[in-house]
């Protein structure tokens, strides 16, 4: 017993050095974002100083000049595309996941891997036909085109995740309840919902983030009307040398929804990233 607790304390205690190292690594990784945040509150003149002036007075000028460039329509487009495509993904993925777990079709593993394999088809290989099709039916620069494409981009991820959650539902209880109709609602609420709700939440979080971040489709297929926030950001790629504070403010504003969603649901993030394999 003595030996055992000694071993545990060695593992758990770990030493100051390792804890300090963990802190240093964490700070190094977050530092660029902190730097971006700080610069966004500096005046353009202070932001361009070398070496940097950490104590420079704070100002909202960077944000003001960013919002003067008129980013709201593109942010609204991003919200529309991300939220609607996420809803559509869940709507399509949930029944599919059901047919791959609770009452599985024949060869359901093949279907599951078909979904995953579509993620490996490079986006760029399908881009041209989609562009030509959209052009011929007058669908270019239309937010619905992005909604459909983002749905197809995220559907495989959601199917995988929801399937992994649904396969934890005890089928026997479900079958017993479906014989006795009165019990079905209660079973759904007390047995199925607790398992499925977190699954839907993690799937939705990941789908939202990936849609919000997407650039290639949006860049090629939208113009002035339906352009999304990342496309708007690409306007800052060149010759923004003297507008560092504005660029940083823009990056912060556009990243904010993802940062908030991600921080609020850190555990869901892991489940989502691993396609539901890690709970």
């Amino acid at each position: 017993m003595n030996e055992r607790s000694e071993f545990i304390s060695k593992r758990r205690g770990g030493g100051w050095a390792l804890s300090g190292l963990a802190w240093i690594v964490g700070i190094l990784f977050v530092l660029p974002v902190v730097w971006m945040l700080l610069t966004s509150f500096h005046s353009e003149e202070d932001a361009a100083k070398n070496p940097p002036d950490l104590g420079a007075p704070l100002t909202l000028d960077g944000y003001r000049s960013f919002f003067d460039t008129g980013p709201w329509p593109s942010i609204a487009n991003s919200l529309t595309a991300s939220i609607l495509s996420t809803a559509l993904v869940i709507l399509l993925a949930f029944p599919a996941a059901y047919a791959l777990s609770i009452r599985p079709v024949r060869k359901w593993t093949d279907v599951l891997f078909f979904f995953l394999s579509t993620k490996m088809l490079p986006v760029v290989a399908g881009l041209l036909p989609i562009y030509l099709f959209a052009q011929s039916v007058g669908f270019l620069d239309n937010i619905w085109l992005l909604i459909i494409l983002y749905t197809s981009m995220n559907l495989p991820i959601a199917v995988w995740m929801l399937r992994s959650f649904l396969s934890e539902v005890p089928v026997e209880i479900l079958e017993a309840a479906s014989v006795d109709g009165a019990n079905l609602t209660r079973t759904l609420r007390s047995v199925v919902a607790p398992v499925v709700t977190p699954g839907i939440a993690s799937a939705a979080l990941i789908c939202f983030i990936f849609s919000w971040n997407e650039l290639l489709f949006a860049r090629v297929l939208t113009g002035t009307v339906a352009q999304t926030a990342p496309v708007f950001l690409t306007g800052f790629v060149t010759s923004q040398g003297l507008f560092l504070a504005k660029v940083c403010a823009a990056s912060i504003v556009v990243s904010l929804p993802v940062l908030i969603a991600g921080f609020a649901a850190q555990d869901k993030l892991v489940q989502g990233l691993s396609l539901g394999a890690v709970k």
Binding site: P52, A99, V220
Partner: protein, 316 residues
């Protein structure tokens, strides 16, 4: 990881009802019903365009010369494969993907092991660690390009001036090492991804077995080598596979940091340019088909390893 496939009583493949084929067929379709919308949607939106890409790849089709549209045979493929730019792009894609995935996998593993201990502020460190992953990729690329790498007012050269005074070297990071500049920016974003999955893997280790091994006199290295690493194998494979899927297609960082210049154009960027700027549809399609063939070759290996790994889980 609880991705169980194959047998589990009560939820196995369709059981044919005893009476007649009609009934069984009806039952099969009832099972398939909920699956069909998603399946049909995916086939129409992802497979159909690719079929068109294959057709166009055998055509002479440049939007600037609409009159010259016609059948080209394997001309596009010959041009793409003999083109020095495309060959270079293939090489860049391999370097970029392998570099980013390997470095962030190793860093992610080391950091996950640091975080797999109880210490003050562990939650805070974890939150700091995942922040890079939550920055929109274009914004992250802008941040690295303008706020960090920039030779005159970027943070890196600012730190050099802090440390070494006014005579400090002020390198132009992106021009000197364009590909590494992109790789580091991406490693910064992808290490948290790897770390999160590997940390979850570490925390699912059966601790009692590891403690028993410790009592039996196994040292830390032996525990890591013979117990932790084999347990982590599937998590390493999963994160490497998912990371590769995303990084191989990377467009945002290349587009933002170098605009494909300085020899950093990868395949997605090259195809984007052939199609979007040069309007050579035939050639862009041929390059797309080649990318897909390459991806299928790699993915077949990857999927096979993942699918055996999921099947090993049966009965757990």
């Amino acid at each position: 990881m609880s991705v169980d496939t194959e047998t589990r009583p009560g939820r196995h493949a369709a059981q044919p009802p005893p009476d007649g084929t009609m009934m069984r067929k009806a039952g099969d379709w009832a099972r398939r019903g909920p699956l069909l919308p998603a399946l049909i949607f995916m086939i129409i939106v992802t497979q159909l365009p690719f079929v068109v890409t294959i057709v166009v790849s055998f055509m002479d089709w440049n939007a600037y010369y609409p009159d010259e549209r016609g059948f080209a045979g394997v001309d596009n493929f010959r041009r793409v494969l003999t083109d020095a730019n495309t060959r270079h792009a293939i090489w860049v894609t391999i370097l970029l993907t392998a570099g980013v995935v390997l470095i962030s996998l190793v860093l992610g593993l080391l950091i996950a092991m640091l975080l797999d201990r109880k210490f003050r502020g562990r939650g805070a460190v974890r939150t700091m660690m995942i922040t890079p992953f939550l920055v929109v990729p274009v914004a992250a690329a802008l941040l690295w390009k303008h706020a960090l790498y920039n030779p005159t007012y970027g943070l890196f050269n600012g730190v050099l001036k802090w440390l070494f005074g006014d005579n400090a070297p002020q390198p132009d990071w992106i021009s000197n090492q364009p590909l590494w500049s992109i790789i580091f920016a991406l490693v910064w974003q992808w290490t948290p991804f790897m770390m999160l999955i590997l940390l979850a893997g570490l925390q699912s280790r059966p601790l009692d077995v590891i403690e028993a091994a410790g009592i039996d006199g196994a040292n830390q290295w032996e525990i890591f080598r013979y117990m932790t690493l084999p347990h982590l194998r599937q998590y390493l494979e999963l994160s490497a596979l998912l990371g590769s899927i995303y990084v191989v297609q990377n467009f945002d960082a290349v587009f933002t940091i170098t605009s494909g210049g300085l020899g950093t154009a990868n395949l997605p960027y090259t195809i984007y340019q052939t199609f979007y700027t040069a309007h050579d549809y035939g050639r862009a399609s041929a390059a797309g088909v080649i990318v897909v063939i390459g991806t299928i070759l790699i993915a077949t290996f990857a999927l096979r390893s993942v699918s055996t790994l999921f099947r090993e889980e049966v009965g757990r």
